[in-house]
């Protein structure tokens, strides 16, 4: 049905967007979980720094994030050069780079949702696990993560939905390459800047809106479903 309603160009753009947002979530989720866990623990030295790092993309201009990524991961950047030399991987101007930029921008959203979930878990359960010989690492895998997974799921879906709309960081770091890094917002921007493509821009905007709403509803639904399973 979706196929029948969309043009080949729109399908291409949508699939690029889904691929970029999907990869962004998959790769940043484990890091987000670790950050959220660390931030939900009782205070420890360095926690404030960690918190600042996690939330920085929320307050920085996206263009600046893209620029910083370019400095670090550009072909001549320290990390980019190393990746290219060691693994032959290039991030700047590629779909992988678009995913990285999207991941960085969506990271704070993910960390917040997951952290809330960790914080909502009854700390008494961890004490109960400790006296059953579960080590801290064991308690993380066997209790913290399974109990927080509705939040993890919600964080991932919200980050995915937000990732579909990431613009500034992606265009700065990965540029606007059709079929490679041209996601929905980039395509809308390109269409708006091209005379006679207003209708294309409008259709893409509607697709974007629908994707975002579906994403948010899915996050809400999944979280409710998971909570019901856990609490009854």
């Amino acid at each position: 049905m979706v196929r029948a309603m969309l043009t080949a160009e729109e399908l291409q753009i949508l699939s690029t967007s889904l691929g970029v947002a999907g990869r962004a979530v998959v790769f940043s989720l484990p890091v987000a979980i670790l950050f959220a866990w660390a931030l939900s623990r009782p205070r420890f030295p360095g926690q404030g720094v960690l918190n600042t790092i996690a939330h920085l993309p929320l307050v920085l201009p996206p263009v600046l994030v893209g620029y910083m990524l370019l400095l670090a991961f550009g072909v001549n950047g320290p990390l980019g050069g190393w990746l290219k030399a060691t693994f032959g991987i290039q991030l700047a101007l590629t779909a992988g780079g678009a995913a990285l930029a999207t991941a960085v921008m969506a990271f704070p959203l993910m960390v917040r949702a997951i952290r809330l979930s960790f914080e909502a878990t009854d700390g008494g359960l961890f004490e109960a696990a400790a006296v059953l010989r579960a080590s801290p690492w064991d308690r993380f895998w066997s209790l913290a993560l399974p109990l927080a997974w509705p939040g993890v799921l919600a964080g991932a879906v919200v980050a995915f939905a937000a990732g579909l709309g990431e613009f500034g960081a992606v265009i700065t770091f990965a540029s606007n390459i059709e079929g490679e890094t041209q996601t929905l917002p980039l395509a809308i921007n390109a269409a708006l800047n091209t005379p006679g493509r207003d209708e294309v821009a409008f259709r893409l905007a509607v697709i974007s809106l629908i994707a975002a709403v579906v994403g948010l509803l899915a996050a809400e639904g999944l979280q409710r479903w998971a909570r019901r399973r856990l609490e009854g």
Partner: protein, 331 residues
């Protein structure tokens, strides 16, 4: 062989618990005291969930915590089980899942009941595949105890374990605990604020108030002391008696002063099963006007609370003969 706290101090906010005590490594030790005495905190400190601010803790010669030497064995390496008052079952697992959680983490060498055995012993085999959210309070208590036992602890701590249980379950639970401790050679520490539970379970008793150990030792010795009586609600005043009718010879029971009748002559043709002759050791007038008589019997000192009119009728005097009478079912 015991668990020893020396100069131990635990702090939480403004509350300060200081403990100097030994818990023998066999039988049941009851930690008794009014709420706010710091009993649960003491268990948490022993289990390793609360850090000592000073002093040291050793278990069978092994140092679990020594503040000066900066030694601290974490809770998960202490092999000390703790059953919390609120059960703390893992909500994402079934009953069986909760028990397996403990079973899969115990050292292979430790010999202790496994999930299936314990669920049969504690009569909840039919609950094994239920989610824990569907359990009643009493069921949760039993599963929490089973989970702790399945983890094969070297010492088992229980915080108010009977709170959610009804009469019959309570008695079964108490019997089970005694047998488990004896058969597995696991020392047990039970926290309670109820004098009946304390008297019934204790081989050893630790009395606490306001973050301090008031006294500790054998129930026969400790429970007759004035400083122990001072911990009790006046209505709970009484005596610890071993081998009352309806109870096993070695079992203790708390005989409340309010449930003891006095007779000035040997009673005959009476249904009561506990009739103990003795001499009046003391006659005290209580603030509310009631008279508390202390009777020296073969069972120890028995207390009876009577009215001034009864005292006058019976013509009781210190050193005089009297019989204490208690219904078996009143205990």
């Amino acid at each position: 062989m015991s668990l020893d706290l020396r100069g131990a101090v635990v702090r939480r906010g403004a509350f300060r618990l200081s403990a100097e005590l030994s818990i023998p490594s066999d039988g049941i030790t009851v930690v008794f005291g009014p709420s706010g005495a710091g009993k649960s905190m003491l268990l948490s400190a022993i289990a390793g969930l609360h850090r000592l601010a000073a002093g040291n803790l050793t278990f069978d010669g092994r140092v679990l915590e020594n503040v000066d030497a900066r030694v601290r064995v974490p809770a998960h390496e202490r092999a000390i089980g703790l059953v919390f008052q609120d059960a703390r079952l893992f909500p994402h697992l079934s009953v069986r899942g909760n028990l397996h959680y403990a079973e899969s983490r115990r050292p292979a060498a430790r010999n202790a009941p496994i999930t299936v055995e314990i669920s049969r012993l504690l009569e909840f085999e039919d609950l094994l595949d239920r989610p824990v959210k569907n359990l009643s309070g009493g069921e949760r208590s039993r599963v929490a105890l089973a989970r702790a036992i399945v983890s094969a602890p070297e010492m088992l701590l229980l915080d108010e374990p009977f709170a959610a249980l009804d009469g019959r379950r309570r008695r079964d639970f108490a019997r089970f605990l005694k047998e488990y401790g004896r058969d597995q050679g696991v020392p047990i520490v039970v926290v309670t604020h109820l004098i009946d539970e304390a008297a019934e379970l204790a081989n050893h008793i630790v009395a606490m108030r306001a973050g301090r150990v008031v006294c500790s030792g054998q129930p026969a010795e400790i429970m007759t002391r004035p400083e122990f009586a001072a911990l009790l609600d006046p209505r709970d005043r009484g005596a610890w008696v071993q081998g009352a009718s309806g109870h096993a010879p070695g079992d203790g029971v708390w005989v409340r002063a309010d449930s003891v009748l006095l007779a000035s002559a040997e009673p005959r043709g009476i249904s009561a099963r506990n009739i103990w002759p003795g001499r009046v050791a003391g006659i005290m007038r209580e603030p509310d006007g009631a008279i508390l008589i202390s009777l020296d019997t073969a069972k120890g000192y028995i207390l009876s609370r009577i009215t001034p009119e009864a005292l006058a009728d019976l013509k009781l005097e210190e050193g005089g003969e009297a019989w204490a009478i208690v219904k078996a079912h009143a205990l």
